[in-house]
Each structure stands twice: as structure tokens, then as C-alpha cells.
Symmetry: C2
Subunit: 225 residues, 2 copies
DNA sequence: GCCGATCAATCTGCATGCACTTTTCCAAAT
DNA sequence: ATTTGGAAAAGTGCATGCAGATTGATCGGC
């Protein structure tokens, strides 16, 4: 083929970046399941590029921990062991606790206000039982916490860990009563943050994640081969 | 050129892996300084490979945070801002605290014994003022802590953070009195761990890193352009 | 019928080359 | 002397092709 510029739209970023986003998205949303193979040729064909950028994208996804790569084998969507999954949830709880604690100490007035307002607004979603919407709100809530800690490196770590956990807790809000519990737990975190009580915020955040962890264990099992 | 197998030794791993290790090592040990450009062609020539594996290695180093990459620009050894450096040190302190706390709660008897023995042995290095040797021991000491937490994901995060900080605290033990202080701080951590006192171990570890952070600030400045 | 060997098909690892972008450098203008 | 225009040089992004590894299928031996 004659090396034609053929990318349809001029979306931001290089080819590789776009592919990383696209593939990561498929993994995180569950369009590709843990254990599934990602062969370079098919992906290249699918995205209408050569294997070179595909390989670089896969390497990056490997570094992110979303796919596992071994020499001369196809990349495989990461299917972690139960032990490793547990270690990620524990790490997540610890990181959330740190973020909540730091957020309680450091958030600006505006950040606190926004957090509280959003939290109040989310009550409506709980009453409607709007799984999807609450899930989206939930992501935003936690992101606010992470940003509120005002520590860029911790933000990166927690973001990465969260991405790697995503495939394993997709359906968490489907569990009966989970929505209400989540809302209440958020409430405790918010209250502690408004009082600038770092210790309490940390503890509330820790147990919030711990509970999510338990709820997810079910789905982790389901994903195993 | 005729695609000859030309790698000297059959060292473990693929070409890319070897290059990642080699380049990471140069960065971490200071053979290449923050801010320095890494152009693909020169590296390819240096390692006697084509640009393809070099590019993949650089992408991986980018994911590790050791080099910064922007489209159409050469990769550059990461030269973090003071704010980001600070966030990494803070994150490091938090992670160390977590590891120390978990280690105090979870280390096996053997692990505790080994930790204490090594710590005792390190006193000799302090008395001799053996900078280099103590530095090596220090790395081992902290690695023991990280492993002792028995959490694989946290181990990964702390290892990565440590690697990224390495270029900025290379010379820390050259500061007068730092050796002795470090030894004493290690002592507090060890004592707390032997008593299985997680809270105390965490606090001791936190302030240990905090102090290292202050000591390093000097060198961080020196590395700026 | 089941197991192991062999070969074809498939896929990954890397080299090479072209297109496009950034950088450098030199000359003309101010 | 300093700035500015612009072309040459250098460098990155990606496509393509070959060599070697892996996988799967077929066939002969037990």
C-alpha cells in the first residue's frame, strides 16, 4: 500500500495514543474480557493501521497493567489472580484513605462546596435507582477526592490502579442495596472532609473501598476461566 | 543491511527488555542526567539495533515515568518540576508508611529476624562511614519493608516511585551526619516492627522519608537547567 | 483409539524506508 | 549587531517485509 494519510478524523494525539485510549476503553468497559487475546494483525486491520503502532500501543497497555505480554506470544487482557486482585483492592483502599485524609486537610473552599453539592444531588439518582447514572457520578465523586488531595503523583497512582480494577467491578451497583449504602458511605466521607477531619475521612474512605472490594469478589470469580 | 543476528551475548529477555533495563539503569545511576535528550537514532546505533526496538523501549520508559515523550520530539530524561518532585516524595512517605505498618502486622518470623539482623550489621558501615555500601544496604532495607507488607500491587507502586526518585537522591548519604541519622531512624522502624506496632512503624517510616526528602531538595535544584 | 512427530499456517520481533515535523543554520533586512 | 525568512539537515511516525517462534493439523507408530 502506498502510505496514504488515511486517518478519518484529525482526533487529538498520535495514532498510538488513540489506539491506547480505544483499546483501554474496550478493556475497561468490558468490550474485551480478561483472558482474551489481542493479536497485532487483527488490531492493525481493525484500526486500519500497520502493526507498528499497534505494537507500541500494546506495550503501553502492558506498562499500564491492562494487558499481559510475553515474548513471542499474543498480548492478553490481564486476568489477575485472586491474590493479586485482593492486593489491588487493598492498595486502592489505602490510596483512597490517603486521598480522603489529604483532601480533608487541603481542599479549597470551592472544592469542598462542589463536593458537597454533588453529593446532595446524587441522592436523586439513588431514589430513582439509576444504576448507570449513579455509577458515572460515583466515578466523578472519587475523582474529586483524588484531585482534592493535591498530590499529582498520588493522583497518577490511584488513577492507574482504578483503571486496572475497572474490569473487575463493573457491575457493582447492580447488587441490591449497594446504591444506598454507597451513598451513605459517601456521606460520611463528605462530612469528615467538611469538618477538615483527616483521620475520619481516611477511615471512612478506607471502609468504603473495602466494602466495594467484597462486593466485587463475586464478579472477579465469574471472570476466571 | 542483511538482518544478521548480531546481539553479542544471549542475555535474558528480548532486545527491547534489555534496552529498557540498560537505559533505565543509565538514568537511575545518573549516567544520563535529567533534561538530556535521547534520540532514537543515536540509541539505535549505540546498541546496534534498529530504531524499532528503541522506540518501544522509550515508550516503556515513558510509561515508567523515567522519560518524557511528546509527539515528534525526542524523548527527554524526566526533569520534574519542584512541585511534582515534592508530590513524589510525599507519596513515597505515605507508601513507606503503609508498607511499614503492614509489615509490622504481617511479616513472618523469619522476615523480622532477617530485618533485625541486617539492621544490626549495618552499624558497622555507619562507623566506617562507608557511603556506597550503606547506600546499597539502605536499598535492601527498604526493599525488605516493601516485601514485608505482603501486597504485590503496593510493592509495584513503591518500586516504580522509588525508581523515578532515584535520579534525585543519588548523593543523599554524602551529607554530613546523614548516615548516622538514617541508621537511627531505621532502628525506630525495626523496633516498632518487632513489637508488631503498626502505627508506630508507619509513623517512623513516614518521618524517615520526609527527612530524606528535605535532604534531597538541594540536589533536585542542582539538576535543574 | 491415543500419543507423539512433522509440516503448514499464523503470529511476533525486528530491520528498513518513506513521509512529515522539528531544528538548525545561514543570509538578507533592519 | 540583531532579527527574520527559509531551506537543508536531523529526527520522529508509521508502513512494509523478512526471519524466527508458536500453534494447529495431519499422519504414522504404538
Amino acid at each position: 500500500m502506498k502510505q496514504v494519510r488515511r486517518r478519518e478524523v484529525i482526533r487529538p494525539g498520535t495514532t498510538v495514543e488513540q489506539m491506547v485510549r480505544a483499546i483501554a476503553d474496550m478493556i475497561v468497559t468490558g468490550a474485551i474480557l480478561p483472558g482474551e487475546k489481542l493479536d497485532e494483525g487483527s488490531l492493525a486491520a481493525r484500526f486500519d493501521v500497520s502493526r507498528t503502532p499497534v505494537r507500541e500501543a500494546l506495550r503501553e497497555l502492558g506498562a499500564m497493567g491492562l494487558v499481559a505480554r510475553e515474548p513471542n506470544r499474543s498480548a492478553v487482557v490481564t486476568n489477575v489472580t485472586e491474590a493479586y486482585l485482593h492486593s489491588m483492592f487493598e492498595a486502592m483502599a489505602e490510596l483512597e484513605a490517603i486521598c480522603a485524609r489529604l483532601a480533608a486537610e487541603r481542599m479549597t473552599v470551592d472544592e469542598r462546596r462542589a463536593l458537597e453539592l454533588d453529593h446532595r444531588a446524587s441522592m436523586a439518582l439513588v431514589h430513582q435507582g439509576a444504576d448507570e447514572d449513579y455509577s458515572a457520578y460515583n466515578t466523578e465523586f472519587h475523582t474529586r477526592l483524588y484531585r482534592g488531595a493535591h498530590n499529582e503523583h498520588i493522583l497518577e497512582m490511584v488513577t492507574q490502579t482504578r483503571a486496572r480494577l475497572a474490569p473487575f467491578r463493573r457491575a457493582q451497583f447492580r447488587l441490591p442495596g449497594r446504591l444506598t449504602k454507597s451513598y451513605e458511605e459517601h456521606g460520611q466521607i463528605v462530612t469528615a472532609i467538611m469538618r477538615a477531619d483527616g483521620a475520619a475521612a481516611g477511615q471512612a474512605a478506607y471502609s468504603h473501598v473495602e466494602i466495594v472490594s467484597d462486593a466485587s469478589a463475586v464478579f472477579a470469580k465469574a471472570n476466571e476461566k
